[in-house]
Protein backbone atom coordinates (compact mmCIF):
# COMPACT_ATOMS: atom_id res chain seq x y z
CA UNK A 1 0.00 0.00 0.00
CA UNK A 2 2.84 2.35 0.88
CA UNK A 3 4.27 1.54 -2.52
CA UNK A 4 1.08 2.56 -4.30
CA UNK A 5 1.00 5.71 -2.23
CA UNK A 6 4.53 6.54 -3.31
CA UNK A 7 3.67 6.03 -6.98
CA UNK A 8 0.67 8.31 -6.63
CA UNK A 9 2.90 10.94 -5.08
CA UNK A 10 5.43 10.67 -7.87
CA UNK A 11 2.60 10.83 -10.38
CA UNK A 12 1.38 14.11 -8.91
CA UNK A 13 4.90 15.48 -9.06
CA UNK A 14 5.36 14.79 -12.77
CA UNK A 15 1.66 15.39 -13.50
CA UNK A 16 1.93 19.02 -12.47
CA UNK A 17 4.34 19.60 -15.34
CA UNK A 18 1.91 17.97 -17.77
CA UNK A 19 -0.74 20.23 -16.34
CA UNK A 20 1.47 23.23 -17.05
CA UNK A 21 1.77 22.11 -20.66
CA UNK A 22 -1.95 21.45 -20.84
CA UNK A 23 -2.77 25.14 -20.21
CA UNK A 24 -1.29 26.36 -23.48
CA UNK A 25 -2.90 23.49 -25.40
CA UNK A 26 -6.40 24.34 -24.24
CA UNK A 27 -5.68 28.05 -24.44
CA UNK A 28 -4.73 27.66 -28.10
CA UNK A 29 -7.71 25.42 -28.74
CA UNK A 30 -10.02 27.98 -27.18
CA UNK A 31 -8.42 30.84 -29.09
CA UNK A 32 -7.74 29.32 -32.50
CA UNK A 33 -9.66 26.04 -32.73
CA UNK A 34 -6.51 24.10 -33.57
CA UNK A 35 -3.92 22.09 -31.70
CA UNK A 36 -0.23 22.94 -31.75
CA UNK A 37 1.72 19.67 -31.87
CA UNK A 38 5.01 21.48 -31.29
CA UNK A 39 4.15 22.40 -27.67
CA UNK A 40 6.33 19.61 -26.27
CA UNK A 41 9.10 20.78 -28.58
CA UNK A 42 9.10 24.26 -27.00
CA UNK A 43 9.40 22.68 -23.57
CA UNK A 44 12.31 20.48 -24.67
CA UNK A 45 14.02 23.47 -26.26
CA UNK A 46 13.58 25.50 -23.07
CA UNK A 47 14.78 22.62 -20.91
CA UNK A 48 17.92 22.04 -22.93
CA UNK A 49 18.75 25.75 -23.01
CA UNK A 50 18.25 25.97 -19.23
CA UNK A 51 20.51 22.94 -18.80
CA UNK A 52 23.39 24.49 -20.70
CA UNK A 53 23.16 28.08 -19.41
CA UNK A 54 23.47 28.38 -15.65
CA UNK A 55 21.42 30.34 -13.17
CA UNK A 56 18.66 32.86 -13.74
CA UNK A 57 20.08 33.85 -17.09
CA UNK A 58 19.46 30.29 -18.22
CA UNK A 59 15.83 30.43 -17.12
CA UNK A 60 15.27 33.72 -18.89
CA UNK A 61 16.99 32.49 -22.05
CA UNK A 62 14.98 29.26 -21.95
CA UNK A 63 11.63 31.03 -21.71
CA UNK A 64 12.69 33.52 -24.36
CA UNK A 65 13.71 30.79 -26.82
CA UNK A 66 10.50 28.84 -26.23
CA UNK A 67 8.48 32.01 -26.80
CA UNK A 68 10.32 32.77 -30.04
CA UNK A 69 9.67 29.22 -31.25
CA UNK A 70 5.97 29.41 -30.43
CA UNK A 71 5.74 32.82 -32.11
CA UNK A 72 7.09 31.27 -35.30
CA UNK A 73 4.26 28.75 -35.26
CA UNK A 74 1.87 31.56 -34.36
CA UNK A 75 3.05 33.49 -37.41
CA UNK A 76 2.74 30.48 -39.68
CA UNK A 77 -0.73 29.75 -38.39
CA UNK A 78 -1.78 33.39 -38.88
CA UNK A 79 -0.69 33.26 -42.51
CA UNK A 80 -2.35 29.88 -43.05
CA UNK A 81 -5.64 30.89 -41.46
CA UNK A 82 -5.79 34.02 -43.60
CA UNK A 83 -6.24 31.88 -46.65
CA UNK A 84 -9.75 31.44 -47.91
CA UNK A 85 -11.36 28.18 -46.87
CA UNK A 86 -8.43 27.32 -44.65
CA UNK A 87 -8.46 23.96 -42.94
CA UNK A 88 -7.44 23.68 -39.26
CA UNK A 89 -5.71 20.45 -40.26
CA UNK A 90 -3.15 22.39 -42.31
CA UNK A 91 -2.10 24.25 -39.17
CA UNK A 92 -1.84 20.96 -37.26
CA UNK A 93 0.29 19.56 -40.07
CA UNK A 94 2.52 22.64 -40.08
CA UNK A 95 2.98 22.48 -36.30
CA UNK A 96 3.88 18.80 -36.62
CA UNK A 97 6.50 19.79 -39.18
CA UNK A 98 7.82 22.41 -36.76
CA UNK A 99 7.96 19.85 -33.95
CA UNK A 100 10.26 17.74 -36.12
CA UNK A 101 12.40 20.79 -36.88
CA UNK A 102 12.73 21.54 -33.15
CA UNK A 103 13.68 17.95 -32.36
CA UNK A 104 16.38 18.07 -34.99
CA UNK A 105 17.62 21.48 -33.78
CA UNK A 106 17.92 20.24 -30.18
CA UNK A 107 19.67 17.07 -31.35
CA UNK A 108 22.17 19.04 -33.42
CA UNK A 109 22.82 21.78 -30.86
CA UNK A 110 22.72 19.88 -27.56
CA UNK A 111 23.37 16.25 -28.46
CA UNK A 112 21.75 12.94 -27.72
CA UNK A 113 22.22 12.72 -23.96
CA UNK A 114 19.28 13.35 -21.67
CA UNK A 115 19.38 16.42 -19.42
CA UNK A 116 18.37 16.31 -15.80
CA UNK A 117 19.02 18.51 -12.78
CA UNK A 118 18.44 17.40 -9.24
CA UNK A 119 19.62 20.22 -7.01
CA UNK A 120 18.06 18.99 -3.76
CA UNK A 121 19.81 16.44 -1.59
CA UNK A 122 17.54 16.77 1.45
CA UNK A 123 14.15 15.20 1.05
CA UNK A 124 10.94 15.89 2.86
CA UNK A 125 9.26 13.02 4.60
CA UNK A 126 5.55 13.17 3.80
CA UNK A 127 3.50 10.35 5.38
CA UNK A 128 6.42 8.00 5.04
CA UNK A 129 7.25 8.88 1.43
CA UNK A 130 10.45 10.68 0.51
CA UNK A 131 9.49 13.71 -1.52
CA UNK A 132 11.87 16.12 -3.19
CA UNK A 133 11.26 19.79 -2.37
CA UNK A 134 11.05 20.17 -6.14
CA UNK A 135 7.54 18.72 -5.84
CA UNK A 136 6.62 21.70 -3.68
CA UNK A 137 8.06 24.11 -6.22
CA UNK A 138 6.21 22.40 -9.08
CA UNK A 139 2.87 22.45 -7.29
CA UNK A 140 3.35 26.07 -6.19
CA UNK A 141 4.23 27.28 -9.68
CA UNK A 142 1.40 25.22 -11.15
CA UNK A 143 -1.12 26.82 -8.80
CA UNK A 144 0.27 30.33 -9.32
CA UNK A 145 -0.07 29.94 -13.08
CA UNK A 146 -3.54 28.43 -12.62
CA UNK A 147 -4.56 31.56 -10.74
CA UNK A 148 -2.83 33.70 -13.36
CA UNK A 149 -4.65 32.04 -16.24
CA UNK A 150 -7.96 32.41 -14.46
CA UNK A 151 -7.29 36.09 -13.84
CA UNK A 152 -6.15 36.67 -17.43
CA UNK A 153 -9.10 34.91 -19.02
CA UNK A 154 -11.93 36.12 -16.81
CA UNK A 155 -10.78 39.42 -15.33
CA UNK A 156 -8.91 41.26 -18.07
CA UNK A 157 -10.03 42.86 -21.35
CA UNK A 158 -7.53 40.64 -23.18
CA UNK A 159 -9.16 37.54 -21.76
CA UNK A 160 -12.57 38.82 -22.81
CA UNK A 161 -11.30 39.39 -26.36
CA UNK A 162 -9.79 35.94 -26.35
CA UNK A 163 -13.02 34.28 -25.28
CA UNK A 164 -15.00 36.36 -27.75
CA UNK A 165 -12.72 35.50 -30.68
CA UNK A 166 -13.07 31.84 -29.91
CA UNK A 167 -16.84 31.76 -29.49
CA UNK A 168 -17.64 33.88 -32.51
CA UNK A 169 -14.74 35.20 -34.62
CA UNK A 170 -16.98 37.16 -37.01
CA UNK A 171 -18.92 38.77 -34.21
CA UNK A 172 -15.70 39.62 -32.38
CA UNK A 173 -14.28 41.23 -35.52
CA UNK A 174 -17.45 43.30 -35.93
CA UNK A 175 -17.16 44.39 -32.31
CA UNK A 176 -13.70 45.75 -33.05
CA UNK A 177 -11.66 42.99 -31.46
CA UNK A 178 -8.39 42.36 -33.28
CA UNK A 179 -9.02 38.63 -33.65
CA UNK A 180 -5.76 37.80 -35.42
CA UNK A 181 -3.60 39.64 -32.91
CA UNK A 182 -5.49 38.05 -30.04
CA UNK A 183 -4.89 34.63 -31.53
CA UNK A 184 -1.24 35.34 -32.12
CA UNK A 185 -0.83 36.49 -28.53
CA UNK A 186 -2.23 33.13 -27.43
CA UNK A 187 0.69 31.47 -29.22
CA UNK A 188 3.17 33.81 -27.49
CA UNK A 189 1.64 33.04 -24.11
CA UNK A 190 1.72 29.32 -24.93
CA UNK A 191 5.47 29.62 -25.51
CA UNK A 192 5.97 31.26 -22.09
CA UNK A 193 4.02 28.49 -20.33
CA UNK A 194 5.78 25.75 -22.30
CA UNK A 195 9.12 27.34 -21.42
CA UNK A 196 8.33 27.34 -17.70
CA UNK A 197 7.09 23.76 -17.95
CA UNK A 198 10.26 22.75 -19.76
CA UNK A 199 12.45 24.14 -16.97
CA UNK A 200 10.38 22.36 -14.31
CA UNK A 201 10.59 19.08 -16.25
CA UNK A 202 14.35 19.50 -16.46
CA UNK A 203 14.43 19.69 -12.66
CA UNK A 204 11.93 16.87 -12.11
CA UNK A 205 12.26 13.88 -14.43
CA UNK A 206 14.64 15.27 -17.02
CA UNK A 207 14.23 15.32 -20.79
CA UNK A 208 16.04 14.49 -23.99
CA UNK A 209 15.81 15.70 -27.57
CA UNK A 210 13.22 12.99 -28.31
CA UNK A 211 10.82 13.79 -25.43
CA UNK A 212 8.94 16.47 -27.35
CA UNK A 213 6.29 14.30 -28.94
CA UNK A 214 5.78 12.33 -25.72
CA UNK A 215 5.23 15.57 -23.81
CA UNK A 216 2.83 16.88 -26.45
CA UNK A 217 0.74 13.73 -26.48
CA UNK A 218 0.65 13.36 -22.71
CA UNK A 219 -0.31 16.95 -22.05
CA UNK A 220 -2.83 16.80 -24.85
CA UNK A 221 -4.42 13.89 -23.01
CA UNK A 222 -4.29 15.98 -19.85
CA UNK A 223 -6.00 18.88 -21.57
CA UNK A 224 -8.73 16.69 -23.06
CA UNK A 225 -9.43 14.59 -19.98
CA UNK A 226 -11.72 17.05 -18.17
CA UNK A 227 -12.69 19.15 -21.18
CA UNK A 228 -10.45 20.91 -23.69
CA UNK A 229 -12.59 24.02 -23.76
CA UNK A 230 -11.52 25.17 -20.31
CA UNK A 231 -7.82 25.86 -19.68
CA UNK A 232 -8.25 25.61 -15.91
CA UNK A 233 -9.19 21.94 -15.99
CA UNK A 234 -5.99 20.92 -17.75
CA UNK A 235 -4.06 21.22 -14.50
CA UNK A 236 -6.09 18.49 -12.85
CA UNK A 237 -6.06 16.43 -16.04
CA UNK A 238 -2.29 16.59 -15.95
CA UNK A 239 -2.17 15.34 -12.37
CA UNK A 240 -4.55 12.49 -13.26
CA UNK A 241 -2.42 11.43 -16.23
CA UNK A 242 0.75 11.71 -14.18
CA UNK A 243 -0.75 9.33 -11.61
CA UNK A 244 -1.80 6.86 -14.32
CA UNK A 245 1.69 7.00 -15.78
CA UNK A 246 3.46 6.50 -12.46
CA UNK A 247 1.15 3.65 -11.46
CA UNK A 248 1.46 1.80 -14.76
CA UNK A 249 5.24 2.20 -14.92
CA UNK A 250 5.51 1.04 -11.32
CA UNK A 251 2.98 -1.77 -11.18
CA UNK A 252 2.42 -3.10 -14.72
CA UNK A 253 4.86 -5.66 -16.18
CA UNK A 254 7.91 -4.29 -17.98
CA UNK A 255 7.17 -2.99 -21.44
CA UNK A 256 3.46 -2.67 -20.85
CA UNK A 257 4.12 0.14 -18.38
CA UNK A 258 5.28 2.62 -21.03
CA UNK A 259 2.43 1.65 -23.32
CA UNK A 260 -0.48 1.91 -20.86
CA UNK A 261 -0.55 5.72 -20.50
CA UNK A 262 -0.96 6.02 -24.26
CA UNK A 263 -3.79 3.53 -24.26
CA UNK A 264 -5.39 5.56 -21.49
CA UNK A 265 -5.00 8.82 -23.44
CA UNK A 266 -6.28 7.12 -26.58
CA UNK A 267 -9.45 6.05 -24.75
CA UNK A 268 -9.82 9.55 -23.31
CA UNK A 269 -9.46 10.97 -26.80
CA UNK A 270 -11.99 8.60 -28.34
CA UNK A 271 -14.60 9.30 -25.68
CA UNK A 272 -13.80 12.96 -25.02
CA UNK A 273 -16.00 15.87 -25.89
CA UNK A 274 -13.88 17.55 -28.57
CA UNK A 275 -13.84 14.30 -30.38
CA UNK A 276 -17.52 14.22 -31.07
CA UNK A 277 -17.81 14.60 -34.81
CA UNK A 278 -19.97 17.57 -35.63
CA UNK A 279 -21.61 15.96 -38.58
CA UNK A 280 -25.07 16.83 -37.30
CA UNK A 281 -24.50 20.54 -37.15
CA UNK A 282 -21.16 22.33 -37.42
CA UNK A 283 -19.36 21.87 -40.68
CA UNK A 284 -15.89 21.11 -39.43
Amino acid sequence: MAEVFEYVFRGVLIGVTYGLLAYPISLLFVATGTVDLAIGGYAVLAGSVAASVHGWKGFAAAILVATIASSVVGGISTILSRRKGSDPLTIVLASFGFAVVLESVVLTAFGKDPFVRQPFSNFWNLLGVRVSPQAGINVAIGLIILAGVFFLLYRTPWGRSMRASSINPEGATLAGIPVRITRFSAFVLAGVFAGIAGILILYTSGLSFASGLHLTLTSLGAAILFGLGNPLRGFFGGIAIGIVEALSVGLAPQGLGTLLPYVFIFIVLCTGKISRAHIEGGRA
Binding site: T34, V35, L37, I76, I79, L80, R83, P88, L89, T90, V92, L93, A94, F96, G97, F98, A99, V100, V101, L102, E103, S104, V105, L107, T108, L213, H214, L217, L220, Q254, G255, L256, T258, L259, Y262, V263, I265, F266, L269, C270, G272, I274, S275, R276, A277, H278, I279, E280, G281, R283, A284
Partner: protein, 312 residues
Protein backbone atom coordinates in the same frame (compact mmCIF):
# COMPACT_ATOMS: atom_id res chain seq x y z
CA UNK B 1 -11.70 5.39 -70.80
CA UNK B 2 -8.40 7.02 -71.76
CA UNK B 3 -8.86 9.49 -68.91
CA UNK B 4 -9.07 6.62 -66.48
CA UNK B 5 -5.83 5.02 -67.53
CA UNK B 6 -3.96 8.23 -68.38
CA UNK B 7 -2.01 8.49 -65.09
CA UNK B 8 -0.88 4.88 -65.20
CA UNK B 9 0.11 5.23 -68.86
CA UNK B 10 2.20 8.29 -68.02
CA UNK B 11 3.83 6.47 -65.11
CA UNK B 12 4.58 3.30 -67.06
CA UNK B 13 5.87 5.35 -69.99
CA UNK B 14 8.26 7.36 -67.80
CA UNK B 15 9.54 4.30 -65.94
CA UNK B 16 9.92 2.27 -69.13
CA UNK B 17 11.90 5.11 -70.74
CA UNK B 18 14.14 5.49 -67.71
CA UNK B 19 14.68 1.77 -67.07
CA UNK B 20 17.57 1.29 -69.55
CA UNK B 21 19.39 4.21 -67.89
CA UNK B 22 18.61 3.03 -64.35
CA UNK B 23 19.57 -0.56 -65.11
CA UNK B 24 23.10 0.51 -66.00
CA UNK B 25 24.10 1.09 -62.37
CA UNK B 26 23.39 -0.84 -59.18
CA UNK B 27 23.06 2.27 -57.02
CA UNK B 28 20.49 3.78 -59.35
CA UNK B 29 18.50 0.55 -59.29
CA UNK B 30 18.55 0.64 -55.51
CA UNK B 31 17.39 4.27 -55.47
CA UNK B 32 14.65 3.42 -57.94
CA UNK B 33 13.32 0.61 -55.70
CA UNK B 34 13.44 2.92 -52.66
CA UNK B 35 11.49 5.55 -54.60
CA UNK B 36 8.90 2.93 -55.57
CA UNK B 37 8.50 1.91 -51.91
CA UNK B 38 8.15 5.53 -50.78
CA UNK B 39 5.69 6.08 -53.63
CA UNK B 40 3.47 3.34 -52.23
CA UNK B 41 3.62 4.90 -48.77
CA UNK B 42 2.94 8.36 -50.20
CA UNK B 43 0.06 6.95 -52.26
CA UNK B 44 -1.41 5.55 -49.06
CA UNK B 45 -1.29 9.11 -47.68
CA UNK B 46 -2.89 10.31 -50.91
CA UNK B 47 -5.79 7.90 -50.46
CA UNK B 48 -6.39 8.68 -46.79
CA UNK B 49 -5.57 12.39 -46.66
CA UNK B 50 -5.95 13.54 -50.24
CA UNK B 51 -9.08 11.63 -51.16
CA UNK B 52 -10.80 11.03 -47.82
CA UNK B 53 -9.51 14.00 -45.82
CA UNK B 54 -8.23 11.87 -42.94
CA UNK B 55 -4.93 13.29 -41.75
CA UNK B 56 -3.25 10.06 -40.67
CA UNK B 57 0.17 10.53 -39.13
CA UNK B 58 0.63 6.77 -38.81
CA UNK B 59 1.00 5.50 -42.38
CA UNK B 60 4.56 4.27 -41.75
CA UNK B 61 3.22 2.23 -38.83
CA UNK B 62 0.90 0.35 -41.18
CA UNK B 63 3.87 -0.24 -43.47
CA UNK B 64 5.90 -1.45 -40.49
CA UNK B 65 3.05 -3.80 -39.63
CA UNK B 66 3.23 -5.29 -43.14
CA UNK B 67 7.02 -5.49 -43.00
CA UNK B 68 7.06 -7.25 -39.61
CA UNK B 69 4.35 -9.68 -40.71
CA UNK B 70 6.29 -10.73 -43.77
CA UNK B 71 9.55 -10.90 -41.78
CA UNK B 72 8.08 -13.10 -39.05
CA UNK B 73 6.14 -15.35 -41.42
CA UNK B 74 8.90 -15.86 -43.97
CA UNK B 75 11.67 -16.48 -41.42
CA UNK B 76 9.92 -18.20 -38.51
CA UNK B 77 7.19 -20.06 -40.40
CA UNK B 78 9.16 -20.48 -43.61
CA UNK B 79 6.22 -19.40 -45.75
CA UNK B 80 6.71 -18.25 -49.35
CA UNK B 81 7.35 -14.46 -49.52
CA UNK B 82 4.64 -14.24 -52.18
CA UNK B 83 2.09 -15.70 -49.78
CA UNK B 84 3.44 -13.46 -47.01
CA UNK B 85 2.89 -10.51 -49.34
CA UNK B 86 -0.81 -11.23 -49.53
CA UNK B 87 -1.02 -11.32 -45.75
CA UNK B 88 1.19 -8.23 -45.37
CA UNK B 89 -1.39 -6.32 -47.43
CA UNK B 90 -4.53 -7.93 -46.05
CA UNK B 91 -3.73 -7.78 -42.35
CA UNK B 92 -2.94 -4.03 -42.07
CA UNK B 93 -6.09 -3.36 -44.13
CA UNK B 94 -8.16 -5.67 -41.94
CA UNK B 95 -6.69 -4.09 -38.82
CA UNK B 96 -7.19 -0.54 -40.09
CA UNK B 97 -10.92 -0.90 -40.70
CA UNK B 98 -12.07 -1.43 -37.09
CA UNK B 99 -9.41 1.06 -35.97
CA UNK B 100 -10.86 3.54 -38.44
CA UNK B 101 -14.43 2.86 -37.32
CA UNK B 102 -13.26 3.76 -33.84
CA UNK B 103 -11.50 6.99 -34.85
CA UNK B 104 -13.17 8.31 -38.01
CA UNK B 105 -16.26 9.36 -36.10
CA UNK B 106 -14.03 11.79 -34.21
CA UNK B 107 -13.60 15.37 -35.36
CA UNK B 108 -10.81 15.74 -37.96
CA UNK B 109 -8.51 17.25 -35.36
CA UNK B 110 -8.98 14.49 -32.79
CA UNK B 111 -8.63 11.96 -35.58
CA UNK B 112 -5.21 13.28 -36.56
CA UNK B 113 -4.09 13.17 -32.94
CA UNK B 114 -5.49 9.67 -32.49
CA UNK B 115 -3.43 8.39 -35.43
CA UNK B 116 -0.35 10.11 -34.04
CA UNK B 117 -1.00 8.42 -30.71
CA UNK B 118 -1.44 5.08 -32.46
CA UNK B 119 1.82 5.47 -34.36
CA UNK B 120 3.66 6.32 -31.17
CA UNK B 121 2.13 3.44 -29.20
CA UNK B 122 2.86 1.06 -32.07
CA UNK B 123 6.48 2.21 -32.02
CA UNK B 124 6.75 1.39 -28.31
CA UNK B 125 5.04 -1.96 -28.85
CA UNK B 126 7.61 -2.87 -31.52
CA UNK B 127 10.50 -1.99 -29.22
CA UNK B 128 9.01 -3.89 -26.30
CA UNK B 129 7.80 -6.81 -28.42
CA UNK B 130 10.46 -9.22 -27.14
CA UNK B 131 11.26 -12.22 -29.32
CA UNK B 132 8.36 -11.67 -31.70
CA UNK B 133 9.61 -8.32 -33.04
CA UNK B 134 13.23 -8.67 -32.03
CA UNK B 135 12.94 -5.65 -29.71
CA UNK B 136 15.39 -2.83 -30.37
CA UNK B 137 17.54 -5.06 -32.57
CA UNK B 138 14.80 -5.92 -35.06
CA UNK B 139 14.72 -8.85 -37.46
CA UNK B 140 17.46 -9.43 -40.02
CA UNK B 141 18.03 -12.05 -42.69
CA UNK B 142 14.67 -11.68 -44.40
CA UNK B 143 14.80 -13.87 -47.55
CA UNK B 144 14.49 -12.42 -51.04
CA UNK B 145 11.39 -12.95 -53.16
CA UNK B 146 11.60 -16.03 -55.40
CA UNK B 147 11.73 -15.27 -59.16
CA UNK B 148 12.80 -11.67 -58.42
CA UNK B 149 16.36 -12.39 -57.35
CA UNK B 150 18.06 -9.69 -59.38
CA UNK B 151 17.85 -5.95 -58.75
CA UNK B 152 16.38 -5.23 -62.15
CA UNK B 153 13.57 -7.70 -61.55
CA UNK B 154 12.91 -6.17 -58.15
CA UNK B 155 12.76 -2.77 -59.83
CA UNK B 156 10.17 -4.07 -62.29
CA UNK B 157 8.14 -5.75 -59.52
CA UNK B 158 8.16 -2.65 -57.29
CA UNK B 159 7.09 -0.30 -60.06
CA UNK B 160 4.44 -2.78 -61.27
CA UNK B 161 2.87 -2.65 -57.83
CA UNK B 162 3.00 1.17 -57.90
CA UNK B 163 1.40 1.16 -61.36
CA UNK B 164 -1.35 -1.21 -60.24
CA UNK B 165 -2.01 0.98 -57.20
CA UNK B 166 -2.19 4.11 -59.35
CA UNK B 167 -4.56 2.36 -61.76
CA UNK B 168 -6.81 1.18 -58.93
CA UNK B 169 -6.67 4.56 -57.16
CA UNK B 170 -7.60 6.51 -60.30
CA UNK B 171 -10.47 4.14 -60.99
CA UNK B 172 -11.65 4.44 -57.40
CA UNK B 173 -11.66 8.22 -57.67
CA UNK B 174 -13.63 8.11 -60.91
CA UNK B 175 -16.21 5.68 -59.55
CA UNK B 176 -19.25 6.72 -57.56
CA UNK B 177 -17.27 5.86 -54.42
CA UNK B 178 -14.77 8.50 -55.45
CA UNK B 179 -17.57 11.00 -55.93
CA UNK B 180 -18.91 10.15 -52.48
CA UNK B 181 -15.43 10.54 -50.95
CA UNK B 182 -15.06 13.96 -52.58
CA UNK B 183 -18.41 15.01 -51.20
CA UNK B 184 -17.42 13.82 -47.72
CA UNK B 185 -14.14 15.72 -47.90
CA UNK B 186 -15.94 18.84 -49.02
CA UNK B 187 -18.90 18.61 -46.68
CA UNK B 188 -19.68 15.55 -44.58
CA UNK B 189 -23.14 16.84 -43.70
CA UNK B 190 -24.08 17.10 -47.35
CA UNK B 191 -22.72 13.60 -48.01
CA UNK B 192 -24.77 12.18 -45.14
CA UNK B 193 -27.85 13.93 -46.52
CA UNK B 194 -27.15 12.34 -49.90
CA UNK B 195 -27.32 8.93 -48.29
CA UNK B 196 -23.60 8.26 -48.15
CA UNK B 197 -22.52 6.14 -45.22
CA UNK B 198 -19.85 8.60 -44.10
CA UNK B 199 -18.16 6.60 -41.33
CA UNK B 200 -18.05 3.41 -43.36
CA UNK B 201 -16.64 4.99 -46.49
CA UNK B 202 -13.95 6.95 -44.66
CA UNK B 203 -12.98 3.78 -42.79
CA UNK B 204 -12.72 1.92 -46.09
CA UNK B 205 -10.44 4.66 -47.39
CA UNK B 206 -8.15 4.39 -44.36
CA UNK B 207 -8.23 0.61 -44.69
CA UNK B 208 -7.26 0.77 -48.39
CA UNK B 209 -4.48 3.19 -47.52
CA UNK B 210 -3.22 0.80 -44.86
CA UNK B 211 -3.24 -2.04 -47.39
CA UNK B 212 -1.18 0.01 -49.85
CA UNK B 213 1.21 0.96 -47.03
CA UNK B 214 1.43 -2.74 -46.10
CA UNK B 215 2.47 -3.53 -49.69
CA UNK B 216 5.19 -0.89 -49.35
CA UNK B 217 6.32 -2.48 -46.08
CA UNK B 218 6.41 -5.91 -47.72
CA UNK B 219 8.69 -4.62 -50.50
CA UNK B 220 10.80 -2.76 -47.95
CA UNK B 221 11.38 -5.84 -45.80
CA UNK B 222 12.42 -8.04 -48.74
CA UNK B 223 14.50 -5.32 -50.37
CA UNK B 224 16.53 -4.24 -47.33
CA UNK B 225 16.33 -7.79 -45.81
CA UNK B 226 16.16 -6.15 -42.37
CA UNK B 227 13.38 -4.55 -40.36
CA UNK B 228 13.73 -2.80 -37.01
CA UNK B 229 11.84 -0.26 -34.93
CA UNK B 230 13.80 2.60 -36.53
CA UNK B 231 13.16 1.49 -40.12
CA UNK B 232 9.59 2.66 -40.62
CA UNK B 233 9.19 4.88 -37.56
CA UNK B 234 6.97 7.92 -36.90
CA UNK B 235 9.55 10.16 -38.59
CA UNK B 236 9.01 8.12 -41.74
CA UNK B 237 5.29 8.84 -41.38
CA UNK B 238 6.16 12.52 -41.58
CA UNK B 239 8.45 12.01 -44.56
CA UNK B 240 5.80 10.24 -46.60
CA UNK B 241 3.20 12.80 -45.56
CA UNK B 242 5.60 15.44 -46.78
CA UNK B 243 6.13 13.61 -50.08
CA UNK B 244 2.38 13.42 -50.66
CA UNK B 245 1.78 17.07 -49.70
CA UNK B 246 4.67 18.42 -51.78
CA UNK B 247 3.79 16.29 -54.77
CA UNK B 248 0.10 17.12 -54.43
CA UNK B 249 -1.95 14.89 -52.17
CA UNK B 250 -5.14 15.39 -54.13
CA UNK B 251 -3.80 14.37 -57.50
CA UNK B 252 -3.27 10.74 -58.39
CA UNK B 253 0.37 10.97 -59.47
CA UNK B 254 1.27 13.73 -56.99
CA UNK B 255 2.49 11.37 -54.23
CA UNK B 256 4.72 9.51 -56.73
CA UNK B 257 6.20 12.79 -57.99
CA UNK B 258 6.79 13.93 -54.40
CA UNK B 259 8.40 10.62 -53.43
CA UNK B 260 10.77 10.71 -56.40
CA UNK B 261 11.67 14.38 -55.98
CA UNK B 262 12.25 14.30 -52.24
CA UNK B 263 14.19 11.03 -52.26
CA UNK B 264 16.57 12.43 -54.86
CA UNK B 265 16.93 15.78 -53.07
CA UNK B 266 17.37 14.30 -49.59
CA UNK B 267 20.12 12.02 -50.81
CA UNK B 268 22.18 15.21 -50.78
CA UNK B 269 21.66 16.00 -47.08
CA UNK B 270 24.98 15.39 -45.36
CA UNK B 271 24.19 14.50 -41.75
CA UNK B 272 21.49 12.35 -40.24
CA UNK B 273 20.84 14.79 -37.39
CA UNK B 274 19.75 17.64 -39.62
CA UNK B 275 17.29 15.59 -41.69
CA UNK B 276 14.40 16.65 -39.44
CA UNK B 277 15.15 20.32 -40.03
CA UNK B 278 14.97 19.86 -43.78
CA UNK B 279 11.81 17.75 -43.66
CA UNK B 280 9.97 20.03 -41.27
CA UNK B 281 11.00 23.25 -43.02
CA UNK B 282 10.14 21.82 -46.42
CA UNK B 283 6.70 20.80 -45.17
CA UNK B 284 5.97 24.23 -43.69
CA UNK B 285 7.25 26.07 -46.76
CA UNK B 286 5.16 23.85 -48.99
CA UNK B 287 2.03 24.48 -46.93
CA UNK B 288 2.70 28.22 -47.10
CA UNK B 289 3.66 28.52 -50.76
CA UNK B 290 1.98 25.69 -52.66
CA UNK B 291 -0.66 24.10 -50.42
CA UNK B 292 -1.87 21.89 -53.25
CA UNK B 293 1.56 20.57 -54.12
CA UNK B 294 3.48 20.45 -57.38
CA UNK B 295 0.79 18.50 -59.21
CA UNK B 296 -1.91 20.69 -57.67
CA UNK B 297 -0.63 23.89 -59.26
CA UNK B 298 -2.76 24.61 -62.28
CA UNK B 299 0.15 25.35 -64.60
CA UNK B 300 -1.92 25.47 -67.75
CA UNK B 301 -5.14 26.86 -66.35
CA UNK B 302 -3.37 29.95 -65.01
CA UNK B 303 -1.67 30.59 -68.30
CA UNK B 304 -4.94 30.09 -70.12
CA UNK B 305 -6.75 32.62 -67.94
CA UNK B 306 -3.88 35.08 -68.37
CA UNK B 307 -4.11 34.89 -72.15
CA UNK B 308 -7.88 35.16 -71.92
CA UNK B 309 -7.47 38.36 -69.93
CA UNK B 310 -5.04 39.72 -72.53
CA UNK B 311 -7.30 39.01 -75.45
CA UNK B 312 -10.23 40.71 -73.80
Amino acid sequence: MIRRIAPVLVLVGVIATLTPVIASSASMLDTSVVIAIYSLLALSVGITYGAAGILSVAQASFAALGAYITAVLSIRAGLSPWFCGAIAIALPAAFAYPFARLVTRLSPLALAIATLMFGYAFDIALREGGDLTGGYIGISGIPGIPLVGTSIRFHVLAWSIVALTVLGYKNLLDSHYGAALRTIRHDALRAAADGVSVDHLRSVALSLGAGVAGAGGWLYAHHITYIGPDSLNPTMSLSVLLMAVIGGSRSVLGPVVGAAGLTLIFKLIPSQETVGMFYGTALILCLLIAPNGIMGIRWFAQRASATARKSR
